[in-house]
Symmetry: C2
Subunit: 313 residues, 2 copies
Amino acid sequence: MPMTFPASHNYDVVGLGVSTVDILALVEHFPTGDDTQPALAMGVQGGGPVASALAALARLGARTAMLDALGDDWRARQILDEFAALGVETRFIVRRPGQSSGLASILVQAGSGQRAIVYSPKNAGDLLPEELPAALVQGARFLHLNGRHWAACLHAADLARQAGVRVSFDGGAGRYRPDLRQLLPLVDICIVARAFAAEYTACDAIRPAAQALLAEGPSLVVITDGVNGSWVFPKAAGSFHQPAFCMPQVVDTTGCGDAYHGAFLFGLLRGLPLRQTAALASAVAALNSQALGGRAALPSLPQVEAFLRAQVG
Amino acid sequence: MPMTFPASHNYDVVGLGVSTVDILALVEHFPTGDDTQPALAMGVQGGGPVASALAALARLGARTAMLDALGDDWRARQILDEFAALGVETRFIVRRPGQSSGLASILVQAGSGQRAIVYSPKNAGDLLPEELPAALVQGARFLHLNGRHWAACLHAADLARQAGVRVSFDGGAGRYRPDLRQLLPLVDICIVARAFAAEYTACDAIRPAAQALLAEGPSLVVITDGVNGSWVFPKAAGSFHQPAFCMPQVVDTTGCGDAYHGAFLFGLLRGLPLRQTAALASAVAALNSQALGGRAALPSLPQVEAFLRAQVG
């Protein structure tokens, strides 16, 4: 199944979000006081929901470009080097001398997979609407965003809608805020964490929450819930539950949600049926849990296809 | 008191050690499980005992050069950029493409100052004896080392002794190993943590431990013990205790021992009497506890002189 895209689309997915640097350490125990321990594994990886979704897309073979505002410090270099290695286009990223990107120190407990995150936000200012490369957004097949760079986000979504570019939204747990209600009418593909859906709709139950989100405008709503799997609700009929793939051993779930988003868009890009798309997204998320960090175990397309074949047995 | 050095000495102190990168986060609480918290402060700083001692020396105004083997990744760039900003000479550092330096993630609890350290060692190979710039070592006034790059360390100490360059040794807590017994006869200035002295000499008491260390060859032994201060034992008579300066509030003791080493050498370079040297070293260590990270609060010479004057009242 080779990928073919119309030549008129410069990039399959343009992402607008905030890239961060994650310092990850796999530890035997969480420290309770003065304590020195060797890490079982340690790594530095780019993070951020949109950025990691693009990483998953790039790994699967899609053509992606990131929009963001970075500083000029080592964090920016780390982020850019990693995008370059993955094949994510970075030349549209704005640089702001003297500013710096967000940093997170993440301890992952071996065995339990529990994660302790300590973070420090970026001080690089938001990307501004006038800094958006309009032609890039208008030439994409998908615009993927999560509400960061707020003014530019609304503008980009408007540009995309007017150009017939589908807008994909990532609503993460703990990231609900009221002004996102302005964005949802511009969104086509709305994939949100269960906690986000509950907060947005004031409803804990999956189906009514999904229907409330669909009423805002999207043509597709997906609610994700970690090991409990995901629920897919097209505006038309045909909703279904996609179970999570159960892995014998999970190393780190960092970035699994972001990987799900990226792979879901990949399935849509390929024109796969929704059920196959959801299975692909779940498989990529499951495979991504097999190494420390949000991107270390992102599979290539042949890898995830082999995994899915093995699941069928 | 302007510093004057003979022109024949290219550098005041040449350091041979292992530079690392510390990712520091000041936190309200240590995590006990799944947990996300904003850092009260977060920073990235170079670390490593010898490297941070040189940082303290450079900040005080001494001319220093570092010897080490680094990779070519972002950690190496971070280490080199920081040395450059401090004025520590880096052009003798060997680079090994594809290798990487040690990394530590350090959570510091606000208030208690307790530190939880998770570390991952370097994979860059040791500096080799044949990679040592002999003339640099022979032209220094002090060679400062802590037993890392072991073969090069022994060779450098030999070169220094033959050239009349004083050798300074840092023995940190938990860093005792039997082969260091080969090194101590080549050492002039031996400043070690109390735990190191106890392990080396199998003696918990300060005075007999110091005397056992003096019997190995050094002309000066100092035993440091954090807030309990330090004990100074010259080979000749005149031992004394230097109390630690009590700071109203301690943010982070990371690197305070390293700062003590650097400042102690600075006092010796200036020809200060031992009591003044020990007071200077204690003051620099105390001041360094006032910010997050091993180097963020290293004082300049006017700053530490003002602090010492204020202590006298």
